[in-house]
Each structure stands twice: as structure tokens, then as C-alpha cells.
Symmetry: D2
Subunit: 357 residues, 4 copies
């Protein structure tokens, strides 16, 4: 594969929060040439008009939002980012792939390999089941080699990113019982997208804390798939998400059961602490966006907002025998658009951190 | 016992968030005559000067903060609320009780009956272990009869209130395994008190989500005590608190293991849903501040902020076999000051809701 | 006029923020019997279902939202609160008045007496110009006697309340040049109503400060009318509103030109400070919701949120010769629903503070 | 002057919000070599330990905070940024300048050229009046040529930046009456610095709006100095700042009196709109961080947060005859640290935008 200095890219559905953040990252990217952005709502307007904060980029003043038409986009870009609702994304991907584009999809459409499970969780038949085999789950820290050659990359959901990254190495290292994973998460309001519903109005969210989607949130489908693949058996997990009044950020707090009993045993507890650290270092020693916290530090979303990093900390609890693992990400950047750029970098053989530091 | 039309009360340490909210509730209380408020910091100033929002109460313009001196307060009030730091509260309670005052303590000093556990969690010897036998744990929905006759009431912590109220009836009804309780909570910043530390500055908390106190938060001591008393055996639980940017409010989300297996069994799952409802109705049918949510509703702190209510909802998860219970309270009102007033009402034989609706 | 123990009332359009706050205040009101609430969107549901925070009121569980039909409402209530959009409110008021109801309108429809100015600012012809003569501008501190006998009360807008209350007494006392009033205001997001638009989504408002509606906001029409009436000449003023990320609250900061020059004159400056105080005391000495700040205190919305109070402070600036007056209100309560209740109390000869303290 | 590829720099007082943002910008700066950071509080810790969000920079793991000692710093850096309290900064600057360092001071110490006015506003005698002649006011858009050769640069305050940039070109073009400037501003809470006081606790600021420092805020001293210099006569202005619950951002809304009457005259009003635009284009056509808003757009802090841009919009008001000008900046970046970097770039002959886009 030839490595180009720049790759022509397009963003389809660039008016939501994820699409806007993609535009931000791509305008700054040394190896991306943003050739097209689409949005039904803003068609005809320049990027600078819709997003004044980008107006100092020359391209923001010249590039106009277009109506999303797959054929036209296919002629403009080699790599196309889809920031569309599920269902719509898959239909859009078909012609793009036929025209030879590489597709990086931010929706849920190609994350779940089993169309029956997709339908169970997304309440409609999968729009392009024939493509599921081609897609690679775009969690770079886990699937880097497959992403390199993928033509269709399904970027993970924000919650799954915050949960799978801390959990998978522990399963791989045999340190936890994969059948007893309990995840509690809280997310900022951009997680709901730029959706115009009463529930997401300022005065409904501000000074409000609330669980939602309990007990069967859609992201369970992809999380259980990946857990099962790693564990080598069918896994179900408990997942309780909450909406909290910040713009960006997810904290996930996991209660895990160690494979070996540590309750009441100080030596085993301390040993587990080290084993977890080793497992993470083995898994993520070469991964530039994993920040393992040391000492007394615990994750804080304000340390990752706007960035592609994940913070991870862990505590073995001698009193209860459980292992508590905590993570923090920016739900938009590492959770969506930044991770998509990371996949783009890998797929195009650019440095993994290009445009992301 | 004679029921007086009004009872003279004092608030010691009235300048923190809990003390301020006590003042708010007592100024509005039909049966409380606020006779004294103390604060080292504000001594000499009127309530209206320190808290302009109360200045329309005639008493707010006449009553001045005094230096806290137990002997003087004992001559002014029959019931004394202590809104002091742990350690300090106990020392203050001793002379008040000797003078015949009833004491309603908002600190942690009299919650834990075992002084060894107190020292383990609070890092100093208990200042008045001889009083521990006299104190009643002031969770009205559970200890109403004992509160009626108590001279020393230890109001529960905010997190314990949000967790014990949903959990205890389920243990009592035999519906859950009390040894496997996993609680995740998030609290507004007033939970830290009016403490002047960098961590609680606006710009450190706003747009920040973070776990803290993991895995051994002080409130575990009282929660495990109460769980153990109800279960009839020694209980340890997992508890992970988080700080989130709202002024007031706690959400607790509990992952519980049903006593009878429901995994994969729809009928058992639905039966459990009903059994939980029955257990709550049996336990709380006469409790005016318990709001059991129906249908699809889930707790939201904005529905309880400023009030003494707790919202509770539950979901039996057929997929995982777990029972998820969620609660919402105002950490200051139901979590601290409102609950103290509720105890006051019970102890003085006033209607339990007096001054709280 | 007979004073009834209770008056039957209805709220038409009870699902917005103002309507919801009216319901809150009326459920707590000793002299109001809430007989009907309407909302197209929630028709058929109980108050408790739509607003769980009110569910402890017995009436919240029995009273259901109905479709808004004037004839039916007229048979149910003596006083009807209209919390409807402008234009719609006037059409609704006509049959209610014909049926003998007293109408307290929270919209802009009856605030401006000149239908030409109404049309200039609201961009459609006035729907009921024949009623304009009957309406009284419901600023109780100014129009108390007229409100007593009014059948149609037009409650002021939130910004006008925060600006007129501090300004009118100064004009009346001849202390300022009424032709040079410059008002800057900032409002919480509920000021926009429960309007489902992108601009009011959480992530669009949080961490955002922005002017809007500059230089010709609709509220100028009623403010200039009232200023002109008081000044006895046609007045135009400068008004710059801003949207800021709080749920509730307005700060208005007024730059006024004293009638007599104070620049560089310490004695005149101090004299003006006292004259302003006297003017407010004369105007508002009997008004229970005016809080004149003393000493170094300045208004803070957190001291008025949830209440019907207005805080007012002033500073004569010897350096510049200007008089700066600052006010704080809750845009929903004193700005809308609480003021409506205050009008209701006056109109029905109840104590002015009934249900508002 | 030789242009070096990199210049060695130090940040003295790097633990406040401005210092932290300087560190962020310098770690990213292509031409800055961060050689030293100081902080009494954090001495001995690495940047990564104190600010985990910077830990991916290799230097953040190696560079440790040192105690601030001028002689040592002078040996380490050619350019020293002082992020210290006023009074302290001046004393620190003296030895640095003697050792030949260039000093970029973020405090107020060298902004006001008249030590008597400094003492009037800062309540202590100026610590180094002999240096005042050497200092240049670091508003790059106005003083670019002087900054190029300055050894001592006094970076403007955040409010002055937001007010002077929109006002000065209008005075220079003769479009407004410089004696009648009325500025209302609102600032996020980082404007108060990382100061540990009750007033800046989360729960005191959140859901609170409040004026402060009215009518004689310290920033008046430098604003009136610069206005007077431009107008060629002594100017006093009205300035009313407010604290609002965002982390970062300032909106300033200016009410200005046009030199030629426009009231009631549509043609003059429209002409003024164009003249203002021309004045800004003349003044700022070559300034990369000025964003003049077109059409209906108004400033919004969320479009400038984290950046060195200022947004400016204006409206001539035919009804009142006033000119309203509105601006938005990030109080930390354009208001403090970013502007300091901009000065650094100019002083070292780097591209003005280096490290700032």
C-alpha cells in the first residue's frame, strides 16, 4: 500500500455533535484533505457559517455543505466518514463501498455481526446484512491489525469504548470472571446527539441526574459481542447508564469479580493490583491514548475532554473481594469522532496520533 | 408526653449547607420556635445578613448568630440540632444531654454503635463512647418507634439514606442476597459541605465527573451496620461514590442478586417485580416521603430537589438475573436537614410531615 | 365584594415552565381551588403523571389535564390563568370574559395598549383590540388599586418586571432623566419557555454566554409604554438581553443619568444615594416582595430563585456621574407565575403574600 | 535580531488557571522550549503529576515545578512569563530584567503607567515605578510595533481586552463620543483565578448570577488609560462586571454614543453600520484573531472558548440613537495566556499565530 501525503475525505451528516467534532479534527489533520461535508439541514452554507468557531480555517470559508448523495461523494473522497443515524448509515454505505470508497461508520449499523441481535436491539431488520462480514469493529487498541486493511470500519459506541478498553485485557489475562461484569456509567448530554427533544433541553438536564435505558440499553449488544469473543463463551453483562449535566465526558465504574478470591487476603489483594497493571501494560504498552493512573489518582473527565485519551484506574477491595475499575473518556472524541480519526490513521498508515495530539 | 404547640429549638453550626437548610425549614415550621443559631464565623450577625434569602422572616432580622456554647444553648432550647463536623459534635452533645436537651445530631458521631469501627473509618477515637447506647439511628421510615422516645438521634448520612431505604425492605422480605450488594452513587457538590478547598471550586467541579473515596468511603460503616442488623449477619457491601456538577441531589443505582434465580425466566422476573412492589408497600405504605415510581418512570433528582422525598424504581433483569434498584434524593434535605426535621416531628409527636410539604 | 375562603381557578396551558410553576403555587395556595388544568399535549394524564414532583398533593393524583375549551373552563373556574403563546391567549380570553370569568393572562397579548405597537413588535395584528381598554398591567407594586377590580390582568414580562420595578420610582421622584435609560439583562434558559429548539438544548446553552434580540427585543414595547406613562412623555430605552446557563433568574443592570449632576461631587453623590433609598421606601414601603439591599450587598439570583422577591441595589458613581441600579428576580416566579398569583391575591382580596411565602 | 528556531522560556507561578493555560500553549508551541515552571505549592512534582491532562507530552513527565527564584530562572530562560499576583510580579521582574531576560507579565503591575493611579486602584504603592517607562501594554492588535522590541510586556486584563479591542478603532475613526462609554460584562469563574474562597465554591456560583465590583473595578485603571491615550483627552467610563456560571468566557456589551446623531434616521443608521465595519477592517485587516461577525450573527462564548479569537458584532439602533457593540473572548486564552503567547510570538519574530491555531 502506498502512503499518500494526504487522503481525500468526506463527512456525511456533519451537523451533529460527532460530525462537527470530525470536521474540527479533519480541518486540523496534517494528512486529511476535507473534500466534502453533507447535511440536509445546512446544504448550501459554508462550514464557517454553520460553525463560526472553525471560520479561521481557509477551507471553512470555501467548503459548503452539500445534500448527501453517495454517488457524488464517491467521486470526491477516498475515505468517507458516516455520522448518520443507524439504519440510514448502512444504506449509505452500500453504494460508497461499491464505488471503492473506504467507509468509517460512526453509527451502530456495522458493529453487531449478528443481524438477529441487531434487530433485537435496534427494532428494525438490518439494512445490509451482506456487509456485516466485511466490517471491522473499530476499537484500535484491540483490532489494530484488522483496521489496517479494512474497507468498512464500524466505530464503537461511546459507552462500549469506556467499558471494553478497561475490561478486555483483564479477561484476556484471566484475571476476572467474565460472566459477572457490572458496569455503571454516566454520560454528558452530547451523548444524546443534537436531538431536539424536550428531555435534552437545558432546563431539563441542568440540575438533574437520572438513570435511563435500564436494564437493556442498545450498547449492550456490541459490548456483549466483544466480551463473548474475548472470553470464548457467551457473556451477558449488567449495564446502567445515567445522564448528567456536562457537555462531554463519560465515567464508567466497573465492579468485577477476580478469578482468584482476594476477600480478606491482603497479599492476594496487592498481587491482583500488580497483575492488573501488568495486564494493561502488556495490552496497551504501545497504545498512545491509554493513560493508566498511578498512586491515588482517579479518573476525571476534565482531564480527557477534547482529547482522544482514556484514563483508567483500579482498586482491588480486600474487604469485599471485588475489583473496581474506573475509566474516563470524552464521549465525543475518544467515544466517537477521535476514535474514528484514529482508525483512519491506522487504515491509511499514518501515525496513529496524527491530528489527535 | 405532652404535645406542645411549639418547641424551642437551636441549630449549632448553622453556617454550612445543612445548617442553612435547617434554618430554612425551621423558619417555616409551624411547631418550631427557632431560639438560637450559632456560628463562630458569623457570630454577631443576623440570619438575614448571612442568608439574605431568609430576610423576609421577622425572626431572620432579629435573631443573631452566637458563639456556640453548650450551657447557654441548653438554657434556650429544648431540642438542639448539631450541624458540626464529626468529633466536634459528640463533645458538644455531652453537656447538652446532661442539661436535659434532646439532641438531633447531623454528624457521623452517633451513627456507628461500635467505637472500634468508628475509629477505623473516622481515624480518631470516639469522643463519647458512653453515649452510643443512647443514640437512635434517625432513619424515620425504619426506626420511627425508637425515634419517638430518643433523647439522642443520629441522623443518617446522605448516601446511606439513598441506599438503605431501597435495600432494607428487600432484605426483610427475603427477596435479595444481602451479601452481594453493589451500590453506585453520584452526588451534587453540596455533599462536600461549604468546605473551602480547591477540589470544590466552581471551575474544578463544573464540566467534571469523577469517582472518589473508592473503595472505602466512610459511609460504609453505618450502611454495613444497618444492613447487618437487618440481615442478622455481618454484611459488607461495595460502594462507589462519584462527584457530579449539580448543587443538590443523589442518585444511587443498586445491583442486587435476587434470592431466587430469575435469569432467563420471564415468569419469575415478573413475579419478582411484583414482590418488590409489595415489599415496599408493606414497609412504606404509611411513610409520607417515599415515592414509588410506576410504569416507565425512573428517578430524577430534579423531582426531589428541595424536598424530603425519595424516589424509588426497580427493574428485574431477566437477561442477567439481577435486580436493579434506583433512588433519588436531595442530599441536603432528605439526606440531612429534612430528615432531621422529620425526626424532630416524630420525637415531638408532631405530624411527620409538619414543615416539610 | 365578598371574600370567599377559596376561589375556583383554572390554568390553561399548564405544561410550560410558567404553567408548571403556577400549578406548583396553586396546589400550595390556601385560597385557591385548582379546578382545571389544560394541555393539548398531556390531555388525559394526571398532574402527578406529568409532574412527578407534585404527586404528594392529593389533587395531583385526581386532576387530569383536559383539552383547552373555553366554554367548559368557564363553567369550572371563576379565575382563569392563561399560560399560552401570544396571539392564542387573546382569542382564548374573549369567551372566558364573556362568560364572566376573571382572566389573568401571562402572555404579552394585553400588556401593550396600543395595537399598532403590538403589531410592530409581535408581527401580527392584535387578535382582540376591543379588550385592550379593559386590561390592567399586572405589576402589583405599581397598579395595586386597579388590579383589585380588574377582570382582565396582563401580567408583565420577566425582563420588564426586573427593570420597571427599580426604575419607575426614580422617575416618579424626579431623580433620573427618563430619556436616557440603558438596561443590560441576563436571563436563565427557562425564559425561552419549554420550547424545543436547537438553541435551547443543554449542550448549546451550557458553557455559553450570548446576547440576543439586540437591539429591538419585544419586551421594549411594554417597558417603553410604562416608562412613558410614568414620565408623562414618550420614552425610548436601550435594552440588551443575554442568555446565560442557569435554569432560573434574571439580573438587570441599569445605567441611569441622574437629574442633577453628581460627577466629581462627593456630597451630591452621597445625597443621591439617600434620595434613591427614600424613593424606594416611599414607593415600596408596603410592598412585601421588594428587598432593598443595604451596605455592600449586591443582588444575586440565588437569593431569589423559587421566590416572588426582587432584590434591588444601587450605586451612585461620583467618577462618571451615573447611577447604577441592579436587580435580581426569578424569571419564572416573580417574572411570571408568582406575580400572577400576587395579582390573583389582590384581585380576590386575599393577603398579597398568600401562597407566596 | 536573529530569529531562533526555539526560544527558552519559563513560567513563574504556573499553578493558577492562567499559568496552567500557558503551560498548555507552550507545550504545544513549535518555537518555545519550556525550560522551567515554578510553583511554591507544587515544587518537586512533575507537570504530569499536577496536570494529568498534559501527561502525554514527554516534557510533562520530566520537567518538575521548582521554587520560584529569579536568579536561577534567569539562567534557564530567555523569556519569562510571570503569572503571579499583582505586587509580587513587579518584585520578581526587577532581577529578571537585570539579568537580561525579556519579561511577559500577566499581572496588573506594569499595565498602568501612572503609579498614583496604580496605588488608587490596587491599594498599595507601586513596587517598581522605575520600570513603568520600559513596559509596553501587550495588546498586540494595537501595540504590535512596540511589542516587537519590548523587554517588558504588560499583558492586558481580560475585561480590558474584551472592551478595548472593539472600542479603540471606533474612537480612532471618530465614530463615537469617547466620553460616554458604558460597558457591561459577564465573566466565567476562572476569571477569579484558582482562589480558594467561599464565593467561588461550586455551589455558590452554580445557578447564581451576580454583579460585583460595581462601580469601581480595578480594570478601569488600564481601560481609562488606553481610552485616554487614543482619544487624546482624559476619559472615564462606566463598567459593570458580573459573575456567571461558566468556566471560561467573557461577553462585553457596550452602549456607545455615535459622534453623529442617528436617532430616527434610517440612512445615517445604515451608514454608521458600514463605517463601523470599515473602521474594524482598517484596524484589524491584518490581525489574525479578530472575528468580525456578519449578518445576524451575535457573539457566543462557546465559539471562542479555548482559542485566542475575539468575536465582535455591532448594531446601530435607529430607535434610540445608540451604537451597541458586543464581543466574546475566552477570558483565560485571549484574555490572558493566549494573548501573552501572541506577544511572545511578536517579540521573538515568530508568526503571530504560532502555537495558537
Amino acid at each position: 500500500m502506498n502512503i499518500q501525503v494526504q487522503t481525500k475525505v468526506a463527512v456525511v451528516g456533519a451537523s451533529g455533535y460527532a460530525g462537527e467534532d470530525l470536521v474540527r479534527l479533519l480541518l486540523n489533520h496534517p494528512h486529511a484533505d476535507l473534500a466534502a461535508v453533507t447535511s440536509r439541514q445546512y446544504a448550501g452554507q459554508t462550514i464557517a457559517q454553520v460553525f463560526p468557531r472553525f471560520s479561521h480555517f481557509p477551507k471553512a470559508k470555501s467548503l459548503r455543505f452539500a445534500d448527501p448523495k453517495a454517488e457524488i461523494i464517491a467521486g470526491q473522497a477516498e475515505v468517507v466518514f458516516l455520522a448518520l443515524p443507524h439504519g440510514v448509515a448502512a444504506e449509505f454505505a452500500i453504494p460508497l463501498l461499491q464505488h471503492g470508497c473506504r467507509v468509517i461508520d460512526l453509527s451502530a449499523d456495522f458493529r453487531v455481526r449478528n443481524p438477529t441481535i441487531y434487530e433485537e436491539f435496534y427494532a428494525h431488520p438490518h439494512p445490509a446484512p451482506e456487509l456485516l462480514n466485511r466490517s471491522v469493529y473499530g476499537l484500535p487498541e484491540i483490532y489494530r491489525p484488522s483496521i489496517e486493511n479494512a474497507s468498512l470500519i464500524a466505530c464503537p459506541g461511546c459507552y462500549p469504548t469506556s467499558i471494553l478498553l478497561p475490561v478486555l485485557p483483564l479477561i484476556q489475562a484471566g484475571l476476572i470472571d467474565a460472566t459477572r461484569i457490572i458496569a455503571n456509567s454516566m454520560s454528558g448530554v452530547t451523548g444524546a446527539g443534537r436531538k431536539v427533544e424536550v428531555d435534552y433541553l437545558f432546563a431539563e438536564c441542568n440540575e438533574s441526574l437520572r438513570p435511563y435505558g435500564v436494564p437493556k440499553h442498545r450498547h449492550l449488544s456490541e459490548m456483549e459481542q466483544e466480551l463473548s469473543l474475548t472470553a470464548g463463551r457467551t457473556i451477558r453483562m449488567q449495564f446502567s447508564p445515567h445522564l448528567v449535566p456536562v457537555n462531554r465526558g463519560i465515567i464508567s465504574t466497573l465492579c468485577l469479580t477476580p478469578s482468584r478470591k482476594i476477600e480478606g487476603d491482603k497479599a492476594s489483594t496487592e498481587a491482583l493490583m500488580l497483575q492488573v497493571q501488568t495486564a494493561y501494560q502488556v495490552a496497551y504498552g504501545q497504545s498512545p491514548f491509554i493513560r493508566l493512573l498511578e498512586g491515588k489518582a482517579l479518573p476525571d473527565t476534565k482531564n480527557v475532554v477534547g482529547s482522544n485519551f482514556i484514563e483508567i484506574a483500579w482498586r482491588a477491595d480486600e474487604r469485599t473481594g471485588n475489583l473496581i475499575v474506573m475509566s474516563a473518556i470524552d464521549n465525543i472524541t475518544k467515544g466517537t469522532s477521535g476514535q474514528a480519526i484514529q482508525c483512519f490513521n491506522i487504515a491509511c498508515r499514518y501515525p496513529e496520533t496524527a491530528g489527535l495530539l
